[in-house]
Amino acid sequence: MLDTILAILHMCIFPGGVFALAVALFFKALDRRIAARVQRRVGPPLIQPVLDIAKLLTKETLIPRTAHRAAFIMAPVLAFTGMAVCAAFIPVPGVYSGLTNMGDLLVILYLLPIPAIALMLGAAASSNTFSSVGFSREMLMTLAYELPLIMILLAVAMLVGKETGVGAEFSLANILSYQAANGSLGFHPVMLPAFVAYMIFLPGTMGVAPFDIPEAEQEVLEGPLLEYGGPLLALYQIGSALKTFVVLGLGVALFFPGTLCDFWPVNLVWFVVKCFLLMLVTLTVVKAATGRFRIDQAFWFYIKFPAVLALISLVLVWWL
C-alpha cells in the first residue's frame, strides 16, 4: 500500500509531475530566450510557457463534428499520463534512484513512444487532411528514431551487463551504480558513438528543427495538432514538456550521471544543469542553426547516421 502511494507521489510530484513540468517549462523558456538572442530578438519573458498553458486551460474545448470523439479526447490524455508515469522512472543521481530496481530501462523504452503514438491517434481521430499527412510523417519519424534508440539502450545494457557479469543490465539503478564505481559511460570510448547517436535522437523525438516535420507549420499547418485547442492542446503541451524532461534526464542518467557530493540539493541542481547543457547543445543550438529536412531526407538521415553510430557501439560492446 505504502509502495503504491509512494509510486503515485513519484509520478505526480517528484521527479515526475510537478517537478518535471517545472523544470521542462523553465527549460522551454530558456530555450526560447536563447534562440531569440541568436536571432537578435528579445524573446518572451521566462514565465511565458506557463502563461501559455494557463491560457489554453481556460479556453473552450472544441471538437470537430467529423472527429472520433472518444479517441480525439483520449489522445492528449494518453500523451500526458504516459509521460508523467515515464518521468517517475527517471533517476536523479544522488537524489532518487528510480521507481523500481528491475528492468526499468525496458519500461522507459516502451513508454517513450507514447506521445508520438498519442499524436498519431489524435491526428487520425481529427479527420483533417493536414492531420493525416502529419500522421504519416509522425509514423515515419517514429520508425526512424526508435531504431537508433533501441540500439543505444541495448549497447548501454550490454556493456554494463558484461562488466558486472549478468548478460544485459536493464536496471537503471544498477547502471547508475556501475557508473559511480567505474566512471561515466559518456567518457567510455566504446560508448562515444552511442552518445552522439543519442544526441541526434533528441531533436527527432522532440520534433524540433531540423526534424519538426510532422508539425511543420509552413507545410501542414501544425499537422496532427491542427484541430486541437484549449485544454486538450494544453495537455499535449504538458506531455511534450514532460517528454523533454524524460529524454534529457535519461540521457544524463545513461551517459553522465556523476554527482558532485553527498548533499542532495547540490546533486539535484547539478542534474538540472547537466540536463540544460544537453538541451542547449542538442536542441537550442541545432534549432537556431538549421532549417527543416523533408521527411524522406530526415528518414534516411536517421538510418545513415545515428543508427550506424549506435550499431558501431553495439558491435564494439559485443566484440570487446
Binding site: R292, F293, D296
Partner: protein, 362 residues
C-alpha cells in the same frame, strides 16, 4: 477518389507559407503531388476600372498601390507610358533618379523573397538575418523618400524629389554596409547544406519549357535565358550604365535565389554609377499636350517584365489603362515545376517564382 489512393488537399487561400491569398487544390498520393489546380481572384480590386475614372495624376498614386514590393515599378512604368502618350521627354537627371529608386526597391524585393524561402524551410535564424540586412534598404528608402514601401519616387514628367549631396553620401554609406552582408547571405544560400538539400534541383523548369511558357524575370534567368528589359530595350538611364544580365543554368529554386542575390550586386553597382554620373539640372519636365493617342511601355520589375498600355481620348482621364505583370507569365510555369513534387515543397516552389498575387489580380 475512384478507387485510387489519392486524396485532395487544400492549400490556401490563407496559409502560413503564402504571403498572399491564392488557392491550390492538390491531388496528393501519399506525400507526392499528382495534380495541381490553382484558383485565384481573392485580391481582385478592379484597379483597371478604377484607373479609367481617375485623371492621369491621380492614377500615379493608384498604380503605386497595386502591390507593395514592386510598387515603384508600377508608378515608374505608368509614368513612362503616360509620357509616351503625351510625347514628353524627361530631364536627364530624372532618368538617373528613377534608376536609383528602382534599384533600391529591387534589392529590398529580392532580399524579401530570399528571406521568405528561409522561412518556408523552417530556417528561422536565416530568415531573421536576411530581414535584418534588408532593413538597411528600408532605412534608406525611409530616409531618402520618407516612406518604407510606397516611396512615390516617380511622377508624370520626371522624379518627385531630388537626391541632394548629403543624401547621396548617406546612400553610398548604406551601400557600403549592405554589400558584404549580401555576399555573406549569398554564400549561405549557395553552400549551406540544409538550404542546399532542400532547394537544389527542386522545381525544375527546363529551358524548353521556360521558353514555351514565356516566363520572365529571375525565373527565366534562373533557367539560363538571357532576358532582361533593361538590356533588351533600355529605358531611363539604363542604356548609359554598365551592368550584366545574371543567369544561372540550374533551372531550379536554388538557381533562382542565386540569380536574385547576384542581381543585388548589379543593383548596388547601378546605384553607385547613377550617383557618380548623374548630371545637374531639372528633375521634372512640363506636361505635354493631351491628344487622342495610345502608347505602351515596359520595364524590368524585380519579378520580370511589367507592361503598360494606355489609350487617351484628349481628356485627362485615360480611356483605357491596362497592365500585365510578370507573375501572370510565371504562374503557368508552376504546373511544370510542381510535377510530382512533394507536399512539403509546394510552398517552396511557389515562393521560388516570387509570386505577386496582388499584382496579377489587380
Amino acid at each position: 477518389m475512384s478507387g485510387t489512393k489519392t486524396f485532395s488537399m487544400p492549400l490556401g487561400p490563407v496559409h502560413v507559407a503564402l504571403e498572399e491569398p491564392v488557392y491550390f487544390n492538390l491531388t496528393v498520393e501519399g506525400e507526392i503531388v499528382r495534380k495541381t489546380h490553382l484558383t485565384s481572384g481573392h485580391v481582385h480590386r478592379g484597379m483597371e476600372a478604377l484607373a479609367m475614372r481617375r485623371n492621369i495624376f491621380q492614377n500615379a498614386t493608384l498604380v503605386e498601390r497595386v502591390c507593395s514590393l514592386c510598387s515603384n515599378s508600377h508608378s515608374f512604368t505608368y509614368a513612362m507610358v503616360v509620357e509616351n502618350a503625351l510625347c514628353m521627354h524627361i530631364p536627364e537627371r530624372a532618368r538617373y533618379l528613377r534608376v536609383i529608386a528602382e534599384e533600391t526597391k529591387r534589392i529590398a524585393s529580392h532580399l524579401f523573397n530570399t528571406a521568405i524561402q528561409a522561412h518556408i524551410i523552417g530556417f528561422h535564424s536565416l530568415f531573421m538575418h536576411v530581414m535584418e540586412v534588408r532593413e538597411l534598404m528600408q532605412d534608406m528608402k525611409e530616409t531618402v523618400y520618407g516612406n518604407r514601401m510606397n516611396i512615390a519616387a516617380n511622377c508624370v514628367g520626371g522624379a518627385k524629389q531630388d537626391i541632394n549631396l548629403k543624401k547621396q553620401e548617406y546612400i553610398l554609406k548604406q551601400l557600403e554596409l549592405i554589400e558584404p552582408q549580401i555576399r555573406e547571405i549569398q554564400d549561405i544560400y549557395a553552400n549551406d547544406p540544409m538550404v542546399h538539400t532542400r532547394t537544389y534541383g527542386l522545381g525544375l523548369l527546363p529551358v524548353d519549357d521556360a521558353i514555351a511558357l514565356g516566363v520572365v524575370g529571375p525565373v527565366a534567368r534562373g533557367s539560363g535565358i538571357t532576358d532582361d528589359c533593361r538590356k533588351d530595350s533600355p529605358y531611363a538611364a539604363y542604356g548609359d550604365l554598365d551592368f550584366n544580365v545574371i543567369t544561372e543554368t540550374g533551372c531550379c529554386a536554388w538557381s533562382r535565389v542565386q540569380v536574385r542575390l547576384r542581381e543585388c550586386y548589379e543593383s548596388l553597382s547601378l546605384i553607385r554609377q547613377c550617383i557618380d554620373r548623374m548630371p545637374e539640372g531639372d528633375i521634372r519636365a512640363p506636361l505635354g499636350k493631351l491628344t487622342v493617342n495610345s502608347a505602351v511601355a515596359r520595364t524590368e520589375a524585380p519579378r520580370g517584365e511589367v507592361f503598360y498600355f494606355i489609350r487617351t481620348n484628349g481628356t485627362d482621364v485615360p480611356e483605357r489603362l491596362k497592365w500585365r505583370v510578370p507573375s501572370y507569365m510565371n504562374w503557368e510555369a508552376l504546373s511544370v515545376m510542381m510535377k510530382d513534387c512533394n507536399v512539403a515543397d509546394v510552398a517552396l516552389i511557389t515562393n521560388s517564382i516570387d509570386p505577386c498575387v496582388s499584382c496579377t489580380e489587380r
